[in-house]
Symmetry: C2
Subunit: 403 residues, 2 copies
Amino acid sequence: MQQRGFLMTPGPTEISTRVLRAQLMPAIEPGDPSFIEVMDETAELLKEVFQTKKDVVFFPGSGRVTIESALASVIEPGDKVLALVNGVFGKWLKETAQRLGANVLELATEWRRGFDPSEVERKLEREKGIKLVGVVHNETSTGVRNPVAEIGKIVRDYGALYLVDTVSSLGGDDVRTDDWNIDLSCTGCYKCLNAPPGLSIVSVSEGAWKAMEKRRKPASTFSFDLYKWRQTWIPKERGGKLIWGYRRHPIEPAPHLTYALNEAIKEILEEGLHERFKRNALAGRAIRSGVHALGLELYPKEEEYASNTITGVMNPERIANSDILGIMRNKYGVVAGGGLEEIRGKVIRLAHMSVTSQPIYVLHTLWALGSALRELGLTLNIDEGLMCAREVFGSRGTAVSTK
Amino acid sequence: MQQRGFLMTPGPTEISTRVLRAQLMPAIEPGDPSFIEVMDETAELLKEVFQTKKDVVFFPGSGRVTIESALASVIEPGDKVLALVNGVFGKWLKETAQRLGANVLELATEWRRGFDPSEVERKLEREKGIKLVGVVHNETSTGVRNPVAEIGKIVRDYGALYLVDTVSSLGGDDVRTDDWNIDLSCTGCYKCLNAPPGLSIVSVSEGAWKAMEKRRKPASTFSFDLYKWRQTWIPKERGGKLIWGYRRHPIEPAPHLTYALNEAIKEILEEGLHERFKRNALAGRAIRSGVHALGLELYPKEEEYASNTITGVMNPERIANSDILGIMRNKYGVVAGGGLEEIRGKVIRLAHMSVTSQPIYVLHTLWALGSALRELGLTLNIDEGLMCAREVFGSRGTAVSTK
């Protein structure tokens, strides 16, 4: 019998049978009241995950598409955008804004650490008239986490819009959209939310809606102009009474992915949002402890920058990244991530943002990583690595949710 | 027992259980060779449906997103675009090009007829330097079909790129991408292809790739720049040998929708592409005959403009469109489409581009339409309508594929 592998990649993540099964629904007309109800319920469930009272909308896309739609909706050519770049996804955020014709300023920092909020403050002090600050919460490319809450306070003080890429954190780590002053929290459905890929999800603050309303020219995008959601979809109040408007979809929805996302969020909320954050964070601590004990180095230089959902491990020198990943996958059934672009071959990425943040998967992954490296000539104590990880889990057990 | 309704809407269309079931697959990493194989196989299957040897790519989106991505990829601000407008979707094509900063010229014609190719020729003769001509093959908003083949010859003579919105024709009516000189054939997965909504699909000619290559500045879109497919995804040949490149996805794919689309196309090709075209066209003739016999007027003024996949019926005066559709849906289980935007309330749209082009659905729909109108006060001979439609089907039987 072939071993069934599992995904330790930072998205897509494992999907439960319950969520897959939710897709088994007949075709439905998007204007059908029962489908509008599912759309509305899903938006309400998402608000709990976003920890927001703001609007949340979703549509066919991906994490990148979410960020592009948010930028395209508020930014006009020539607008000053500050992009904080300490990884591949920060770079892509910057490039997306550049393609849209923004005047993009970049604040870069070493990729192996998170931003120091005071650097951001100094930059905002020096440069006047920045309309939007964009940052990646959790650099999916490295496992470095940026201090989004602290940066949010500064951005508010300078009156800029605050866009946060929460693609690999939302639903898996604490993201307090409202408390942290996030105007546009941009995510996807296939990382911490564990649903089939294909949807963009974004929360939009009143300030962001205002910025869209005040545009001189319509957004360059017809399909992803978020303002249309405000105009034709989101129920409005007038004189204390709800005006439902047309409930017209600004973009053709994807009902089957919506059913699956709806079910996936229910699964998350049944476990408990904060229980889940704790589970993922604990797995992170266990993996980091195990990685240290194996004599390997983490990608983030300090513990304070370590993501709670993805652990980046420095690829040992003189051993090919692809060989390590190949053995882990083919012999041990563990699908891990490699490095992208500038850090191609330089990092091994292990995600703990789904069912796989449970001990059984974490311990097996450390065993697979250690064994692959030993097979490739490195001397290391695999048992030591497993023991240290197990110690972090303590007596928390290894129960796995039935799939 | 509640009557199970069926969708006569022009998309989404009915989806077979076989196709729905194809979504029941575990999460997969997009770089997994077995998934790349499914992507490649799906592209090859699509080429058969597009009747093309050109490249076909697909990604999360919708019909609108496809058109936007095609326009954004080849058009630079200021480029002259000729938009042929005789319906809501032609208008949206025009607006999409305008938002992208193109210098858009509009050629309009009465919405109740298709374009006369000689009008297009005169326009191209008068206006010099048009980079792209965009037209809707099948106006989903009206059931009017434009002479895309004839216009294609003219566009070629004038050296412009030819973009065709085939959202409601591809897979349901004859679309000869190569023979008709279509550079960018833009479609979705949820109309004639009968797959769950959420994907954009486009064929790209060598001329369109060249236009992207020669851009002065990169496209304003990061996610939907089709040129990335050429650069990082599509296998290339050099010296007669295939170079596979990185096979990197330009956009995060939607595997579950891809599995479903793959299965849906197999279902289509098993029936036979031309068998299917004939089935849909026959249903169109039967519906038109039935509608005439009911004493109603078709939206297209001449038979030659009548779509083979959607029939637009003029809404009888003094009867509310919503009342007709409501009775058809609630009493007879037939979900038909109404009018959009300018023609809101003025047209009843019946699609025959899926399982519903079979006699059982067509006859039931005519019965529902006639009965609803009679209930709303119109005098008409329902049996006459059914008889005329049945005569068109002749002895072709009423077999329905098992779902």
